[in-house]
């Protein structure tokens, strides 16, 4: 009999590891409570999708994961948010290091007005990495499935790329600094279906190396790419008429889209919501 036979809390060796442990997270903008009641574990090497109607707080929660809310005046985060068991909002934690480890890709592709090469090399250079930049740029562009399309014009301006290419360049730029997690805020909403399919395929390929959290308005996209899905909604306080976002249901994606347990999730994914 093993020494841990009585330890009911011991997890099996192949249990997914939690990159983020979130417990009763609340986000305030001044006196306004924007999000409440968020408890979830984000697992290693999985794609976690956050879906819900506008104003449900999903982007607000996403920004908590790399402390981007710090940049918004009056924003305050309460509750527990651990990153690899370390409280992310502890005053000893350096937000710059947090954002290196936890990269972000935004809705609108935002390459720097520099060459393709310099965009990817920017992060490593800032970090003081000057050796082997060529290899690093190539590897990052390959991982982002962009290398073959740009290898002959690395010195050209990134602004000349198509929208889909620019977004993949932003992903290459994010992974060039060897992050652990990639946060994606509506990464395909400005792209056509083919560029969207390329990014989705890319996400599935790179999840072996990264943990990905994606906010999307496109339920089909969440269904196609993610392993787990979190459904958020907003509730209106009848007295103050303030809308507060909350996490309704968090489960494996096939469960959310085939047999959700909460009626609000069912109503949202079937379009009986308004």
């Amino acid at each position: 009999m093993s020494d841990h036979a009585d330890d009911v809390t011991a997890e099996p060796a192949d249990a997914p590891r939690a990159v983020f442990h979130v417990e009763d997270l609340r986000v305030y903008y001044g006196d306004f409570r924007a999000v409440t009641d968020v408890s979830m574990d984000v697992h290693d090497n999985e794609i976690t999708a956050m879906i819900g109607p506008s104003g449900c707080g999903k982007s607000t929660v996403l920004r908590c994961f790399n402390r981007m809310n710090d940049l918004i005046p009056g924003a305050r985060v309460e509750g527990r948010l651990d990153y690899h068991s370390i409280p992310l909002y502890d005053h000893k934690v350096d937000p710059v290091e947090v954002r290196r480890r936890i990269g972000m890709v935004f809705q609108k592709p935002n390459p720097f007005p520099k060459s393709i090469y310099d965009n990817v090399a920017y992060g490593p250079r800032v970090a003081g990495n000057k050796k082997g930049l060529d290899d690093l740029v190539e590897q990052s562009l390959r991982k982002a499935a962009l290398w073959d399309e740009v290898k002959d014009r690395l010195k050209n301006s990134a602004m000349g790329l198509s929208g889909g290419q620019q977004q993949r360049l932003c992903i290459a730029r994010a992974i060039a600094v060897s992050p652990d997690v990639l946060l994606m805020d509506e990464p395909c909403s400005a792209l056509d279906p083919i560029a969207t399919a390329l990014i989705e395929e890319l996400m599935v390929e790179i999840k072996e190396d990264y943990t990905i959290i994606i906010v999307t308005h496109n339920m089909q996209q969440a269904a196609r790419v993610s392993d787990r899905t979190a459904f958020f909604t907003a509730e209106v306080d009848p007295n103050t008429e303030q809308r507060t976002g909350l996490l309704v249901e968090y489960a494996p994606t096939d469960a959310i889209f085939s047999n959700p347990q909460d009626e609000r999730t069912e109503n949202y994914v079937t379009g009986r919501f308004g």
Binding site: M219, A223, S258, N259, G271, R272, F273, G274
Partner: protein
């Protein structure tokens, strides 16, 4: 709460109404077929055979509607389960309609045969049981009643028992004064088999309805037996407790 996808949900309601109509057509045809069998009535038998085309047309329409919904509407959650269930039920009831036609074709082949009172009684009871199972399956679908849907499996045992008695009665008839020919005995046995299969389709429908309502796929009895055997094989090499039903 405002309904956002009205036209899509109207399409789903239409499919549902068509499935109920399909099942109702079969459920109405079955007692008529049984009566025709007992009364040697070739006119009614022929009428049911011809009317099966209407069932087939309806079934094709249901399948096309479901395929269109899958291709264009991306149904999710309960809607997805409703469409998948409609496609499965469509097959079950369409096949049930074919079995009723098979019974009617058997009437032609058995024409002129005077059935023994025992066989007449058993055919009448099998007809009633199969009709009851079909009707209850469609009630379960219409009401979204998973409990009733799951009860169909046990209810079908009675039809299975009747069919066994019926086969025995055919053997017994072979020793009576008016001996059945081999051809007649085989035809009668096949008719019994058609009734028994009708019950099985109602049970299958019940399983799909359980999935539609609960989101859980009910375990098929054979799958349960295999899982049990596998478990037993791991703990101790042994035989299943119960032999397979005949």
């Amino acid at each position: 709460m405002d309904e956002l996808r009205k036209s899509f949900h109207q399409e789903l309601d239409d499919v549902r109404a068509d499935i109920v109509k399909l099942a109702a057509l079969v459920t109405e045809a079955l007692p008529r077929a049984t009566e025709a069998l007992l009364n040697n009535d070739l006119v009614i038998a022929q009428d049911i055979i011809v009317n099966d085309d209407e069932l087939d047309l309806l079934s094709v329409g249901i399948e096309e509607s479901c395929l269109r919904i899958l291709a264009l509407q991306n149904p999710m959650a309960g809607d997805m389960r409703a469409v998948v269930t409609a496609m499965k039920l469509n097959d079950e009831y369409e096949r049930s309609g074919d079995l009723v036609v098979n019974i009617c074709k058997g009437i032609r082949r058995l024409y002129g045969l005077q059935l023994s009172p025992q066989l007449r009684g058993l055919i009448s009871q099998m007809g009633d049981e199969a009709t009851r199972l079909l009707r209850l399956s469609i009630d379960a679908y219409f009401e979204g009643n998973a409990g009733l849907a799951s009860a169909l499996d046990d209810m079908d045992d009675r039809l299975d028992d009747l069919q066994e008695d019926y086969i025995q009665a055919i053997f017994d008839d072979q020793h009576q004064e008016q001996e059945l020919t081999t051809q007649q005995a085989v035809q009668l046995a096949m008719v019994g088999r058609f009734y028994e299969r009708l019950g099985d389709h109602a049970v299958n429908a019940g399983e799909r309805i359980q999935y539609m309502v609960t989101g859980e796929v009910p375990e098929h009895s054979a799958a349960a037996r295999l899982a049990e055997r596998t478990d037993e094989g791991q703990s101790e090499a042994g035989m299943p407790d119960e032999p397979d039903p005949v």
